[in-house]
């Protein structure tokens, strides 16, 4: 068990103490690197979002103020894409964390061939999105796809359903593909976190008469909770910006049922060549992501405070 140094820790700032500048040294390389490769584009995105700019000519743009935003916010398709994005994100987060957690717990227990099993579970994540989109599109095919054949075989539907073509089925189909692709990510990260659960605590809980699920809640969950919270945030943010699978499988169709913010953004930027409007979509997405992140920080600070850490 760790005893953190008290808040006025031995590394508190003093003139002679490297703790004043050492953290800066630690974060400096990353900061510089990211300033160049991420923040500069980020700032530029803000700038672009108040201009009218063509992709083919980003150098010359005209300032249009909030026009881009105004147009977006009155656009019913944009509203739809917001709705789709929220549904998509929520299902991705809940589903992939649940599946990842289950898989991680299963693979954490020792059994023969565990190493191989752990590697096999990463397969979906390792598969290139292009390949995943191809194979799933094929599996969703109304005539020859496995899903249709299975549901025909089971007698659910006589004729085949083209999942990607059916407005009510397209989003679930995309979600299944996405979940398949990303649950190994949660699984791998949670599996790593599970290794930090002290075996003696498990033993203590078992001795105290806890059943399996209670052991999980009393010992395992508290240890991995910070990781799961972090995962929630990461998957949320990533789901907000996931592009390839959706683009390759539906391009946002049918009838905009899978038209997420990023698909919308991409279309505006690369099909309509309207970089300014695309940037505005990006900024709105960013605002959503920032809100989620702020909630995350708030929650994690609060739990840290509640358990007396720092």
């Amino acid at each position: 068990m760790t005893r953190p140094p008290s808040h006025d820790t031995a590394i508190a700032a003093r003139k002679t103490d490297p703790s004043r500048w050492l953290p800066m040294v630690f974060i400096a390389p990353v900061t510089l690197y990211l300033l160049a490769f991420q923040f500069y584009p980020l700032v530029q995105q803000f700038f672009l979002s108040v201009t009218s700019t063509s992709l083919l000519n980003p150098g010359s743009s005209t300032f249009v103020g909030a026009d881009n935003y105004r147009e977006l916010l009155t656009d019913p398709e944009f509203a739809q894409s917001l709705r789709v994005t929220v549904v998509y994100t929520v299902v991705c987060v809940v589903g992939s964390i649940f599946l990842g957690l289950m898989a991680a717990l299963l693979l954490d227990r020792p059994f023969r061939g565990r190493g191989l099993a752990r590697a096999l579970v990463t397969v979906p994540w390792a598969a290139p999105p292009v390949a995943a989109a191809l194979i799933f599109t094929w599996m969703y095919n109304a005539q020859y796809g496995l899903f249709s054949r299975l549901s025909q075989f089971l007698g659910f539907s006589a004729g085949g359903v083209n999942w990607l073509d059916e407005p009510s089925m397209a989003l679930p189909a995309i979600l299944i593909t996405t979940l398949w692709q990303i649950f190994p990510f949660s699984a791998v990260v949670i599996l790593a976190a599970l290794q930090g659960v002290p075996s003696e605590l498990r033993e203590a809980a078992v001795i105290d008469g806890a059943d399996r699920f209670s052991v999980f809640k009393a010992v395992v969950w508290p240890t991995i909770r910070p990781t799961v919270t972090l995962l929630t945030l990461l998957i949320t943010v990533w789901s907000l910006r996931r592009f390839d699978v959706i683009w390759l499988m539906t391009q946002g169709g049918p009838l905009g049922e899978t038209n997420t913010l990023v698909i919308d953004l991409y279309r505006r930027a690369f099909v309509y060549l309207d970089l300014g409007k695309a940037a505005a979509v990006g900024v709105i997405g960013l605002v959503i992501a920032v809100l989620v992140t702020v909630i995350y920080f708030w929650v994690s600070q609060r739990t840290e405070a509640a358990t007396g850490k720092r």
Partner: protein
């Protein structure tokens, strides 16, 4: 090596399995003949060709020579991302095909056709009653219905957002075939004109007739055709070339599309010079080499059932190997670019709107007239800002 001027040349063909290699070999001939210049093919997958090139153009880079599709060509030309061909060639020296007129904007040439392709109906005679191609739309429907059995389908086309670009060409063929045009030559949109609505309605009729493998993408249904499971498709010469090589549907046949009017869309892919190029002269040299009759001849042969910039007669061997070429070549006078005339620069947004409305007709049960009225309205307000 070091003294060579490198000219990069991007075309989505280069990524294709069969034609790509032949095309590269053709380019090599130029390199062999010009020791001081090296034309380097740049492979960019078709699916991201436009976005990649545009990003590079916007970043003041990109390949020196670019084979665009028509919509991208207009966008690039409109933003001066490609150079006008002043002094590159002398128009009078060449016998251009009729499609060449679409490549001049305000009288200035921005490219020449690298390849053009017409649309016609490819059919598998074995699946059609008495092996004859239908001539009228009604005949077509009857024949296709009759062919739809035992896991075979009478017809196939695209009807998903995921293939927005392809669906646009398919629906354009229907609209043109029913006498419609997307716009008047002056750029006035006519999306809800009776002829266009009739084309859309026909599209829907086919959809509802249950004669197509719904939702199956083009790559798959073309393969199905090849496997002898599809009776007819309306597709361009390039596709026909690919389908002809072997497969169960071999030999294929072609006839003009079974629509009331002969007009169909066309593929028109110009080659252009990047405005950011630093080797314009070397690029021009390659272009002139390309337009030499011998090289045009070779290019047309290696690309298959397409035409190139200049008029090149088919050789007897070609016609013998591919008798259906005739149907395609006969289509040339009736080929119209698939873009709304006068609105070419806006075509991506227009395509999006139209295909979206089309899908509403097909899947959402919206009446063709209502949907196209909406399309007209959206184009006018959102795209043209009227």
């Amino acid at each position: 090596q070091s003294g060579k001027t490198v000219v990069t040349f991007a075309a989505s063909h280069f990524a294709e399995v069969g034609r790509g290699d032949r095309l590269k070999a053709w380019v090599e001939k130029f390199n062999a003949a010009n020791p001081d210049i090296e034309v380097k093919p740049v492979t960019i997958p078709f699916s991201s060709f436009a976005s990649t090139i545009f990003t590079q153009l916007g970043g003041k880079g990109g390949p020196d020579l670019i084979r665009f599709d028509l919509p991208e060509f207009y966008a690039a030309a409109a933003s001066n991302s490609v150079l006008p061909w002043d002094g590159v060639i002398n128009d009078a020296d060449y016998k251009f095909t009729s499609a060449d007129k679409y490549l001049k904007i305000n009288g200035k040439r921005y490219g020449v056709a690298f390849d053009t392709a017409n649309y016609a109906m490819i059919y598998n005679a074995a699946l059609l009653p008495d092996g004859k191609p239908p001539k009228t739309f009604d005949e077509f429907l009857t024949a296709a219905k009759a062919a739809t059995k035992d896991g075979n389908y009478g017809f196939a086309y695209r009807a998903t957002m995921a293939e927005r670009g392809g669906a646009w060409y398919d629906v354009t063929n229907f609209v043109y075939g029913f006498g419609g045009r997307w716009s008047k030559p002056d750029g006035t949109p006519t999306f809800n004109s009776p002829e266009v609505v009739a084309g859309i309605a026909a599209y829907k009729q086919v959809y509802d007739a249950g004669i197509t493998p719904k939702g199956t993408d083009a790559a798959t249904y073309r393969r199905m055709f090849w496997e002898g499971k599809i009776a007819t498709v309306v597709d361009n010469g390039g596709v026909a070339t690919i389908l002809t090589s072997q497969g169960k549907a071999h030999p294929i046949s072609a006839a003009h599309s079974p629509f009331p009017h002969r007009e169909q869309g066309m593929i028109l892919a110009p080659i252009t010079i990047n405005a950011n190029t630093k080797v314009k002269d070397a690029a021009a040299k390659f272009l002139r080499w390309m337009l030499e009759p011998k090289n045009q001849q070779e290019l047309q042969t290696l690309l298959g059932a397409v035409n190139v910039a200049t008029i090149v007669e088919r050789t007897p061997e070609e016609l013998k190997a591919m008798p259906w070429l005739k149907a395609y070549d006969e289509q040339t006078p009736y080929s119209v670019p698939a873009l709304p005339q006068g609105l070419e620069v806006k075509s991506p947004e227009i395509q999006q709107i139209v295909v979206q409305q089309l899908l509403k007709v097909l899947q959402g049960g919206v009446a063709p007239q209502v949907a196209m009225d909406e399309a007209q309205r959206l184009v006018q307000t959102r795209v043209l800002g009227q």
